[in-house]
Assembly symmetry: C4
Homo-oligomer: 272 residues x 4
């Protein structure tokens, strides 16, 4: 690992532009990169439409390779100017960067993998890095903190949902049976997920009166329990909002989080 | 721009009736206008039903032109009596007013644009102006303030949803493929939106076991993340309600946190 | 109107049993009545199933007439023993009582009205009266108060939804047109309601790419704005819960609703 | 009943391992049991897929009987080492334990009950016991307390939903009638549940304009009232969180409302 101030001037300059957002050049680079990512994703989207693919096959191939080469170059420069290349390469965003160029090269070597080239679309995840840098994420942090604080409750909730879904799936498999489309328990569980989450495709539906009664119960269950995660996240978000709102700082210990009516610091006991 | 007290008596009178809501004449005008808007929208609705169109074509044409002429006259009077006509014309409601009469005239010149005459239905937006005036909007303001305070969080949330939808769309395009209705990535993304939002038309559904497993994951994701915007808006709305409460300051002891209905300070007992 | 203590002993006794819930006889009467209502509703439900109707036609007719006669007798006794019969007859529950027996007699006179006999099912509403009496409704009152406090916000929200639904309906009528099932604007509005509320039957679905894009927008709108009523009701309910929780009573003015940290009554200013 | 310290060393040791979670052996036993339950459930799931059943019938039968014997042994040991066997047998988890092995033996005696063997899947409920022990449930308790506090409100809400569903079902039966799929009131009620909960399979849909209008009303009702349980649970959860906060009393000034992380009273500044 090299400390930034020990790097050569070129590396440091590149580092500032590519990884930083404080300089005008760094901001411009970020905006150009967002535009390039969105354009390349749009190209992948339209290329997947058969009629467009037939007519603009060659243009789109050319566009795709231009973007791939640009992103490859960017990837190499990122490795070059990173103070700690190994850490960058194995970081989450380093892997996303690699994943967004690799499928094109694999497609070159194994033409049979044509379909998996679509994975280039994971490029869209790269935008998050830029958003993360551009300060916009103060708000996102609050969301993340609330979700993080609620993660145990949400895990328990999902475990409940799983169990409910398995039990309803097995019940319907017994009641409706293969004749009505419930051909196996996994398929019945798929139906239960479709029902409990209130998606309701209608590709598998109960036909017997008893099955319809059980299905009604499943729907009401799903309709009622959606209130649980919502309540959890509302409560956490509100606590989070309140916490950051009472930004009163104690002048003795400099800690925050005091109520509006607090006369004494709750941490050190000095008068505020 | 003309200051209201420099306007001729006729203009001022018209201004009071058309833009104001305080005088009896102004109130009557607003009620008549709401009725006219609702009736003209109803006429457009029934005119679009083929069987009704066939039988009452001429009556409805006559009705529509009556309303168009009335609204045109109103539009011209609004321009005439407005203290600042240019500002009115390019304001949001000025453009809505224009948009609600323009399609009829365009349809006269270019009969081929028959279908776009339906845009007259945007008239319905005009009702908001009247509601805005009639004081009812004290409550709406609280809603708007809460939504405004939450706009960054909602933007980030929608960006997440977009990314999730693109990733699930691409995955299902690879897994299910054109044979099962996932003919292109944009169409797969349409499926992902239908699924994540729990709408679930059922016009495109997964057929392979792996596709159904991924779809189940998408549904559970959609079912869980709806809690996020709900939590955001609940928290903001509640903070908004509390804010209007905790902002009352006692003029004797300068402490805050009083209820909206408090007549005496809860801390020092003096009248507020 | 007769004051209860001026009524004859029989009327007063009947009044206590039928309208009251404090005496053992009153409680027993309520329980028997709930059972009778549920049984008669169950009879109507199964009578509507063609195969059951064919086999048990006569039994069910006999059952139905027994219940109708019992409810008619009860209705007449209620009128007889009510202190103010006119007020009872035109009260909400008086009308529901009448409506729950009338269809049977009308069906006797006009056999053609056979289908409307189903309206007897509105009997189910009578259970609410009993629940209302049996104290269970302390909780329901809290719900009602919260809903009442939120009614303006909910009205404005529904007005928004109406407008959104009309605009999306008109747009889809132009874009998709009759060829894809959007045969008229009212039908397109029906589609918009099905979509915005995330019900998603799939009986009408967009087929053009532009239509699918607009539909995706409508779904995301519906998915996001459901957060608004939820937020409204959460905030009101929470305020309501908090309000009733701080049941501290001022010993001078006997009013409630004081904060936990209040030293002085917010209504009269006396020390608590 | 035998007090734990009066039991033989073997029984006490077994009791510690099987019912306890504090010793290393107890933890290992729990993990092994969770793995066994999940594997046996997975075996039941794949066994229900016709193609898998055909090919791996014998292997799966062997796997199933192994698990059944292991669970039977565990059940007997639990009875043996429980301080109060009778109480264990008739406890909720005791019955679940029995239910998870019984279907296999019944299937041996009455081969016709083949389908009901699927009930073995209720084994999945056994995992809850283990989770309950492993402390993870501190969070779940908060959820349960909130749900418990809200149970009356939720009961009233469900009663409303039932009534709404019966009334809409009866209305649609009259309006749409058997010709459009609404063949009986129970079936119409099934449609109403599918619609109000926003599941929307689309297996039964309104075809007449009036029916579609009523259905739109039902959808908007369902879309709006889902806010009620969500609001209830949000409010309770938040109150629950706040309750644990506001219950801390300062021992010097006896005032409440301190944060959970407060070391000093915010009112008088003394250590708490």
């Amino acid at each position: 690992m090299t400390a930034p101030d020990q790097m050569s001037p070129l590396r440091r300059k590149l580092y500032e532009v590519i990884f930083g957002t404080d300089t005008p050049a760094g901001k411009t680079f970020d905006l150009v990169l967002i535009a390039a990512i969105l354009l390349s994703v749009a190209a992948i989207l339209v290329d997947s439409i058969p009629s467009v693919h037939l007519r603009f096959k060659d243009t789109l191939k050319w566009v795709e390779w231009s973007f791939t080469l640009v992103f490859t170059l960017e990837y190499l420069v990122r490795i070059y100017c990173s103070p700690n290349p190994r850490r960058y390469i194995f970081s989450f965003y380093g892997l996303v960067d690699l994943l967004s160029i690799l499928p094109s090269y694999i497609g070159l070597v194994y033409p049979a993998a044509r379909h998996f080239i679509v994975l280039r679309i994971l490029r869209v995840l790269r935008i998050f890095r830029i958003l993360k840098l551009i300060r916009y994420m103060g708000e996102a942090n609050l969301l993340f903190r609330a979700l993080n604080a609620a993660r145990r409750k949400i895990f328990i909730f999902l475990f409940w949902v799983m169990t409910i879904v398995v039990v309803f799936g097995a019940l319907m498999f017994i009641i409706e049976g293969p004749a009505n489309g419930f051909t196996s328990i996994p398929r019945s569980i798929y139906w239960a997920v479709v029902t409990i989450t209130t998606v309701g495709y209608g590709d598998i539906t109960p036909h017997t009166p008893l099955g319809q009664a059980i299905a009604s119960l499943a729907m009401l269950t799903g309709y009622a329990i959606i209130a649980v995660p919502t309540g959890i996240i509302s409560a956490e978000l509100f606590a989070e909002v309140q916490h950051s709102k009472s930004n009163r700082v104690c002048k003795h210990c400099a800690r925050v989080g005091h109520d509006l009516d607090a006369r004494y610091c709750k941490h050190c006991g000095e008068e505020m």
